[in-house]
C-alpha cells in the first residue's frame, strides 16, 4: 500500500517526555523512506512484547503481532521461517526480552535469524509502575527493591556478541538521527540485528542527565573486528561512570537460519501422495 498514514488514530497513552515517542517517530521515518524507495509496507511485520514499548503495535499502521511479555522473538522466528520475504521487526522491552524472554534473544542471535530486534531499554519496568530490570544499575530503588537492588546489571551487548548476533548496535533516544541510521542499518543487514536503545522513562527513570554528557559516537572503530567490538562494548558496564559509546559495534555476514531452513513449497496433492508412499513402505 502506498501513501498510507503510518501512524494510526489510536489515542497515544505514553507519558509526556517518554523516549518511546522518539523511537516511534524514527520508525515512522524509516518506514516512509522504505516506501519511497519502492518497498511495500505490506511486507513489513512488527512484533511487540508486553510493556510500554509494546503499545507501538497499536500506533503503527502496519501488520503487527502484539505478543506476550518476553515472547516477541519466537513469534518473529515463526513468521520469518513461514515467509522469508517478510521484513520482521521486533520491538521489545528490557524487562520483556532481557528478563522474561532472555533465552529467546540468545537463541535468535545464535541462529543468526534475519530479523531486527530493537530493545526499548529504559532500564525500568514502566507499565507495572517502577521495578528494576536486568539493566538497572546496582542499588536501583524500585518498588520491589525499596532499599536498592543487590545485583549488578548485565551488559546486553556483550551477551549478544557472545551469542552470535551479526549486527550489534547501541543508540539513544535523544540522538534521533543516529538512531534512525542504526535501526535502518539493522533492517538492511541480512542476519540477526540487535539494537539496544537507551530510552528515557520520564516517570520512573528520567536518566537524560546521566546519559547526555556521557554518550559519544563510535567513530574510530571498525565493526568488522569482533575482538575490538567486544572491547568497545565493555567500555560502559551499564552501571559505572564511564563514557557510553553509541553506534555499530559489530557487523558481519554469515548464513542465516531462514536461508538454511528454507523449505520448498509443496502442494497438498504432492504431500498426500508422499503420505500414501510412506504408508505403503510400511507393508
Amino acid at each position: 500500500m502506498t501513501g498510507r498514514p503510518i501512524i494510526t488514530d489510536i489515542q497515544n497513552t505514553w507519558c509526556p517526555g517518554c523516549g518511546n515517542f522518539s523511537i516511534q517517530h524514527t520508525l515512522k521515518n524509516i518506514l516512509a523512506d522504505m516506501e519511497k524507495e519502492g518497498r511495500s509496507l505490506d511486507d513489513v511485520v512488527l512484533v511487540s512484547g508486553i510493556g510500554c514499548h509494546a503499545k507501538i503495535a497499536d500506533y503503527l499502521n502496519i501488520n503487527s503481532f502484539y505478543s506476550l511479555h518476553g515472547r516477541t522473538i519466537p513469534v518473529a522466528t515463526g513468521i520469518k521461517l513461514a515467509n522469508p520475504r517478510l521484513t520482521v521487526i521486533c520491538c521489545c522491552g528490557d524487562g520483556d526480552c532481557y528478563a522474561e524472554g532472555l533465552d529467546h534473544l540468545l537463541f535468535a542471535a545464535k541462529r543468526n535469524l534475519d530479523i531486527t530486534v530493537m530493545v526499548h531499554n529504559n532500564r525500568v519496568y514502566g507499565l507495572t509502575t517502577g521495578q528494576y530490570t536486568p539493566t538497572s544499575p546496582l542499588g536501583f530503588r524500585g518498588k520491589s527493591t525499596p532499599m536498592g537492588t543487590e545485583e549488578f546489571p548485565f551488559n546486553p551487548l556483550e551477551l549478544m556478541l557472545a551469542s552470535g548476533a551479526t549486527y550489534v548496535a547501541r543508540g539513544y533516544t535523544k540522538k534521533m538521527d543516529q538512531l534512525k541510521g542504526l535501526i535502518r542499518g539493522g533492517i538492511d543487514h541480512h542476519g540477526f540485528s540487535f539494537i539496544d536503545v537507551l530510552q528515557i522513562c520520564a516517570t520512573f527513570f528520567p536518566a537524560a542527565d546521566y546519559y547526555t554528557p556521557r554518550v559519544y559516537d563510535l567513530a574510530d572503530h571498525d565493526p568488522a573486528q569482533f575482538m575490538a567490538a567486544c572491547t568497545r562494548a565493555r567500555e560502559w558496564d551499564y552501571n559505572g561512570d564511564a563514557k557510553i559509546p553509541l553506534g555499530v559495534f559489530y557487523r558481519a555476514r554469515f548464513p542465516t537460519f531462514d536461508d538454511r531452513m528454507a523449505q520448498i513449497e509443496m502442494g497438498q496433492d504432492q504431500r498426500d501422495a508422499a503420505v500414501r508412499g510412506i504408508i505403503s513402505s510400511r507393508e
Binding site: 511486507d43 503481532f65 519466537p74 513469534v75 515463526g78 504432492q270 504431500r271 508412499g277 504408508i279
Partner: protein
Amino acid sequence: MKELSVLIGGKAGDGINSAGAMVAQLLGHMGYHIYLYFDYPSLIRGGHNFAVIRGAGTSIGTCREKVDFLLALNQETVQRHRDHMNPGAAIIFNADLVKGEGQGVPVTSILHEEQAPAIMGNSALIGGFAKAAGIPWETVEAVFRSHIPKGTELNLKVARKAYDLLSTVHPVEPCNSPGLPLLSGNEAIGLGLAMGGLEAYVSYPMTPSSSILHFLAEEKEKLGITVVHPENEISVVLMALGFAYAGKRSAVGTSGGGFCLMTEGLSLAGMAELPLVFVVSQRTGPSTGLPTYTGQSELQFVLTAGQGEFPRLIVAPGDAEEALYWSAVAMNIAWKFQVPAFILPDKTLSEGSYSVNSTSIPPVKREDPGTADLGSRYKRYTDTPAGISPLAYPGAKEAVVKVNSYAHDEAGYTTEEADMVDLMTRKRLRKWDGLIAEMEGYPQVNSSGHAGTSAAMLCWGSTRGVCREVAGTLGLRVVQPVVLAPFPMTALNAALNGVTTVICVEENATGQLATLAERHGIAIHKKVLRHDGRPFTYESLLARMKEVLP
C-alpha cells in the same frame, strides 16, 4: 480366533524396538493383524527392555499376558518372563549370553563366519525365530528386503545361518488378512497432520511425543514441511503461532510437563484466534513421573488449560487408524474455526505399533479458510454470525493484519471499552456452537459390542482395544468418545441408549472421563482405574471387570 504373541527382551541399547518391528512384519506378512507394545525404562543403556508383538485374525490394540515365543537377548529376559508363557511356548535365545531350555542361536560364531558386524546380531535371532515358527524363508527374505535397506544381503546371510540351524517347534498357521502397513501411533499422528495440510512442526523433545519430531524431521523433505526444535516449549508454541499468523498450518508436540510451559501460548491462540494443533502425549504424572510409561491423566488439564475462556477441540484417538484420521480432522477444524485443537494420545498409542488399513479411513475435508481480499478495508477480527472472521496474512496487498493478545476491537487494536470487550467475547464463544454442530457430522463416538446389553464400558483413547476384547468376552457394550471437547452429548447419549450400568475404564487415579461425563449429566456407576504406568492387558482388565459387574 487364530492368534499368537511373541516377547523379545534384552538390555536397553540392544535394538529391541527395531527387532520387535521385524518380528511384527514377519507376522504381518503371515496374514496377521498386529499390535506391538514396547516397554522400556527411562535409560539409554542397560535397563530391561521388551516388546510384545501380538498377531490376531482381526484388528487388535492390546496385549495378552502370556506369549507363545520368547526371544531372549539376555538372561534377565528368561528370568523375568518365564512365567508369562503359554503351554508349549518356544524359547529362542542368544546362546552366547543366555543359558536355558529352548533353542540357542550362536550369534557370535554366525557373525564371525559371515564376517558381519555386531549390529547384525539381531538378524540371526530373527532368522532363528522365523524357523522356530515355521515361517517360510521367502517371507523372511521379503521382509528383510522391504525393511532393511542397508546391508540387506549380509543381514539375510546372517539370518539364513540361524534359520538353517534351528528347527520348527511351534509352527504358525498363515492367517487371512492382506499384508497391512504397520505404523506407530506417533507416525500415524505425523502422517495425519500432513494429510491435514501440515506445513510446520515445532517441538521440543519429550517422551512419549518425541518420535513424532524424529519421524517428521526424517521425512520433512518428502512431506514438504519445516521442522523446528527450538530452545524450550514456550518458544515452541509461540513459534508455531508465528507460522499460523503468516498462514502456515502448524502443529506442536509435547507431553504434560512441556504442555505446562505452553499454556500461556495456548491462551494467546484462544485470544488471538490463531489456529494451532497441539499433540499432548500422556505419560504417568504428576511432574516428571514415569517418563516412559503410560497414563491418561491430562484430560482435565487440557480441557481447562490456559487463562480465560475460549473454544477448543480435543480428540483422543484409540489406535493408529484413528490417529491418522483424527489428526487430519484436528488440523482442518483448527483452521476452519481458528481455534486451538488437541490430539490427546498416550504412551501406549504413541509408541505402540498397529496394522493400519488406510483404505478404510474416511476422506478428510480440508476446508481452506481462503484469503480475504479486502485490501485496506480488511479487519482481522471482523464480527460475523458464526464468530469466524475472514483470514488474511501479512504480505496481502494493502491489508493491515493485526493480531493481539490484549482484548481488541475488530481491527485488532487494543481496547478496554466494555461494549467492545463484551462483543468480542461473544464472538469468540459463538464458535463453540458452530463447533458442536460441526462435530456432529463426524463419527465422534464409537460404539461396539453387544447392542442389546444394559451394561457398557465407557473408555477413551488407547484403552479402546483392550475394552473391546474384554467386552466381547463378557457380552458388554463399549462406548468410546473420540471427541472430548466440545463434549459430544447427543452422540454419547445415543450410544448409551438402553444402558443402565456404565463402567468407566481409565488409566488414571481419579476417573477424569467419568468426571467429565458426570458434569454433563451422564451417570457413571462404576470406575475401573489403573494408574501404575502400565496399560491394561486383556487378562488384567477382565479380572477387574468381573469384580465390579453385578
